[in-house]
């Protein structure tokens, strides 16, 4: 591809935006990203991306929390073998409480850390085609194209307009 160009379609509604995305994918256009002021299931389904990997990291975080709590409670008991209240040295019921709390703590920390890493934050550069209205009240679809391919540019513009885009602009990438 030679010189690139972005085509930016601006939608007033997430359902129209999702329709634009579905139409683009139907026309085998895959090189695009979307801006949205709200999380939208319509857009997420239309994008057809796999479920977030955050789930896996939270699971691993939770398991790590439980193992850490077991190591802490059992390990310190072994290190200092001091009985109290006639209870067994390895007292499972109270240790389960520590396991539960550390499972939540490590799971929560994993959720936030994996969200930040997977979402590419902190982002020091603007994603191409960003406009402040996309954080306010408009949904944007930004398609990356070859500037020399006039037919394709027009086809993409027409897909976005037909899906209900209020405005379709070209922007040098």
């Amino acid at each position: 591809m030679g010189v690139s160009m972005d085509i930016i379609g601006s939608f007033a509604d997430d359902q129209l935006c999702a329709k634009g995305i579905a139409d683009l994918r139907h026309a085998a256009v895959e090189d695009f990203h979307v801006f949205s002021p709200i999380p939208s299931h319509h857009i997420e389904h239309a994008m057809g991306k796999p479920k977030s990997r955050v789930r896996l990291f939270v699971l691993l975080g939770g398991i790590t929390g439980i193992l850490t709590a077991l190591a802490l409670t059992i390990g310190t008991t072994w290190e200092w073998n001091l009985g109290s209240g006639g209870k067994p040295m390895i007292s499972w019921p109270p240790f389960i409480i520590i396991c539960f709390e550390l499972m939540i703590l490590f799971g929560g920390l994993s959720a936030v850390t994996s969200f930040i890493v997977n979402a590419g934050l902190p982002a020091f550069n603007s994603a191409s085609g960003y406009n402040s209205r996309f954080g306010e009240d408009r949904f944007g679809v930004v398609v990356r194209c070859d500037a020399a391919d006039g037919d394709r540019l027009e086809k993409i513009e027409s897909i976005l307009r037909n899906a209900g885009a209020e405005e379709v602009l070209r922007d040098a990438a």
């Binding site: 991306k49 479920k51 977030s52 109270p94 703590l105 959720a111 936030v112 590419g120 934050l121 603007s126």
Partner: protein, 452 residues
């Protein structure tokens, strides 16, 4: 005719941004006077705490057998206050309850500052706060590890986990809103919001991971909130002391926590919606929904009081019965009856739809609930200790000026921090309000608005 509570009309996305961002404009003299007043009281409390550290715990009213009193009452009270925030922000999020969108940020902010306030009290109560690290899983000078069979250690884990998870949940939810504020501000505010928003732009990739992480955080926070106040209740229930040693404590404390917390949300929101001019966003419909939760939890708490008393009578345990006799009719009997009046009787007014839309009446009721719940904790903590197993030890406690002022200071600390947040960060979630409106519009289009 009973006043009907109307659902608010749907504003546009721009209306929402305008209303919320207007709140964040630079405040005037009245605001700074209020902040100065709050932090002056905090300063007085800090001086008194310093004196307490220097002179020792004799400056408090703590005397045998009442060695846990106002400080521990404050701790339980503030942890309880925190709970409604997580109820509204996490549990109602999982249930997709629509009215939460306008009030959850304020409730969640309240949670964070309430836990931060609660966390101060074990330190203040310690007398020698430099030994706080004995609660942490780190061996002390004698290479002793914490005793993991002690509910106090469970509490250290539960409260610090709660503080961390609440802070992360709040900060994460703020990111899209702060990014929106960044786009519409200038000068130092733009720099401040740019740093806080981490360069968020709302791309599909960012939202995909955000939605999953937020949902899982809500899923983690839900059992956490129930565990935290259960663990707080076990600080008492695990002991053998009559008045404390009760299996009902965990659910009873959790219900009480939500009851007092939602009342505190009302205490804050009712004046705040007027002063910050967000009456179009936080409407009587939202406050009415909060009032219904207060009413429900008041009934649960009343039932718990009745069950607790019934079990004491039914157990046939003479010592337990004497403790409760003293609780109802002893020198501190008035505290119990004030508690019953505030927590069981006055909230029954909320059965009236007319009262549930009367902001002044609701605000006064919420204050009574706050007073009643503080007294409940005092009665359990100090009342049970005052009349323990051995009548020759019985002794009633009088709070000292230091304890009273540190308690007042904790309220000032909480209100000051909350007021700072409300003015400089979005106190209403713009993103979730917009999401709610989109959902409503689509439901109207599909003809399922009544279910929505």
């Amino acid at each position: 005719m009973a006043a009907a509570v109307q659902e608010p009309t749907t504003p546009t996305f721009r209306d929402i941004d305008r209303s919320v961002l207007r709140v964040m404009e630079f405040p005037g003299v009245a605001y700074w006077t209020w902040i100065a007043f709050c932090f002056s009281l905090v300063g007085i409390a800090a001086v008194l705490w310093t004196r307490q550290i220097y002179e020792g715990m004799a400056v408090t009213g703590l005397r045998q057998p009442v060695m846990w009193a106002i400080y521990i009452t404050d701790f339980v009270f503030w942890v309880g206050i925190a709970h409604s925030g997580t109820l509204i922000s996490a549990i109602l999020y999982l249930f997709r309850t629509r009215w939460r969108t306008a009030v959850y940020r304020a409730a969640e902010t309240m949670t964070l500052f309430a836990v931060a306030t609660a966390g101060l009290f074990p330190m203040i109560h310690l007398g020698r706060p430099w030994f706080l690290y004995w609660l942490l899983p780190y061996p002390n000078e004698r290479y002793l590890q914490p005793n993991f069979r002690s509910p106090l250690v469970w509490d250290a884990f539960a409260v610090s986990t709660y503080l961390t998870v609440s802070a992360l949940f709040l900060i994460m939810g703020l990111i899209p809103d702060v990014a929106n504020a960044r786009e519409q501000s200038t000068g130092w505010r733009k720099t401040f919001y740019s740093i806080l928003s981490l360069g968020w732009q709302g791309t599909d990739q960012q939202w995909r991971h955000f939605s999953m992480a937020y949902l899982l955080m809500a899923g983690l926070a839900t059992p956490l909130v129930i565990s935290v106040h259960s663990v707080v209740s076990w600080d008492f229930a695990m002991a053998q002391l009559p008045g404390w040693h009760s299996t009902i404590f965990a659910p009873y404390f959790v219900a009480g926590a939500i009851f007092s917390g939602v009342a505190m949300v009302m205490t804050l929101l009712i004046p705040m919606r007027k002063w910050l001019k967000i009456e179009d966003l936080v409407t009587p419909w939202h406050i009415d929904s909060l009032a219904k939760i207060v009413l429900l939890t008041s009934l649960v708490v009343s039932y718990s009081y009745a069950t607790e008393s019934f079990m004491v009578w039914y157990s046939g345990d003479k010592i337990e019965q004497m403790t409760f006799h003293m609780r109802y009719f002893g020198p501190w009997g008035w505290i119990f009856w004030v508690m019953v009046l505030c927590n069981c009787v006055i909230p029954l007014l909320l059965f009236s739809p007319r009262i549930r839309v009367n902001m002044k009446a609701l605000w006064i009721i919420s204050i009574f609930v706050n007073i009643g719940m503080w007294f409940e904790r005092f009665d359990i903590v100090a009342g049970s200790l005052a009349t323990n197993f051995n009548p020759s030890q019985w002794n009633f406690y009088t709070p000292s000026f230091t304890e009273i002022m540190i308690t007042v200071g904790s309220f000032a600390w909480f209100l000051g921090l909350f007021s700072l947040f409300a003015k400089f960060l979005p106190i209403v979630s713009m993103t979730e309000l917009k999401e709610g409106i989109t959902f409503l519009r689509q439901a109207v289009k599909k003809g399922t608005a009544t279910d929505a």
